[in-house]
Subunit: 140 residues, 3 copies
């Protein structure tokens, strides 16, 4: 069984955002899958996807603070600067964090840990919406 | 053909640990798959999974040293501090390294390179055991 | 439907290289898949795979500059030094960027964004060629 959907997320401010509920709302078919995998893919090079703690919002704030320190704006060695100081750091963060997730499916649900959620990591200051491709493969 | 297992790894000290043999021991069905993929997923937000050199243990020691430098404890901008100084760095390392692997299967075995092994990256000082979901999909 | 191929890329200089065209050239069967996933896996521990901007070459130059800063050569804490100053940083970059990609397939093509391309990230100064495993799974 293969299910695939392309979804558009609204523009979000720079930072780390929980999107687990939105992804699940798009996939009522998940309930029929006994064993499978869900691939979540972001079609952009200046935002990324991760799985991390979904309870305390300070985790997401600290993610933003630390990635800004580890991948600074205006580094003297950047040449790709014409789209603004947040652009090249956004590309770097996308390669560090990654563009896709593959999550196991068990008995009709995502088999993540109790505290795990799906993050959309928005690295631009003034992004538009973002498109995701959800690909679900499994057996009924 | 779909095979899925959830396994519990014993508590390990902070650092990078080889778990290839343990994963393979859980999957005797691998021998029947001619072409496929194995997904390995960790159900935690303060440990991670990677593939890297499995021969010289100094590689794993240097991994621990470098990630501790790149993601320090007690950074002045951390707000998520009440679970201890190792907690927020652990979440950051999990998003940098990643929570899952997808490895090709060929002729009944994982088709990794000669020097590649699967790492459990334990980022907490006093972790409990860790749960993994192994999902194998392929054709006989 | 399962298709799997192992391909050898020629030696490339240290840096970030676009390989999208080469991967596609190896997979004429992609055109028959209506919905599926492509897994790309690199069988080495000192090179990595990423998806990022495929238009402006300065993005790839800045990637190389920044990863060299974030993961320096000759860090005083490295113990794994006998294969040269570029070796341990190469292993670290491989775990940060990752060894594999899983990309959705839709209507006979990779469903990536307009500006996305597949990068081979070569982290050694004098690498030999690199082997990739391409695993395509989907329905006709």
């Amino acid at each position: 069984m293969w299910i695939q959907k392309e979804i558009d997320l609204p523009a979000q401010r720079r930072g780390f955002h929980l999107i687990t509920d939105r992804v699940l709302a798009e996939l009522p078919e998940l309930a029929q899958i006994s064993v499978g995998m869900l691939n979540v893919f972001i079609k952009h090079t200046s935002a990324s996807l991760s799985i991390n703690e979904d309870a305390d919002p300070t985790v997401r704030q600290d993610m933003e603070s630390h990635f800004n320190k580890m991948v600074p704006e205006n580094a003297p060695y950047y040449r790709h600067t014409y789209e603004g100081p947040d652009d090249m750091p956004a590309h770097l963060k996308a390669s560090i964090i990654g563009s896709h997730l593959t999550i196991p499916v068990t008995d009709g649900r995502l088999n993540m840990g109790t505290w795990q959620g799906i993050y959309l990591c928005e690295h631009r200051d003034h992004a538009s919406g973002r498109s995701l491709v959800l690909t679900l493969n499994g057996k009924v």
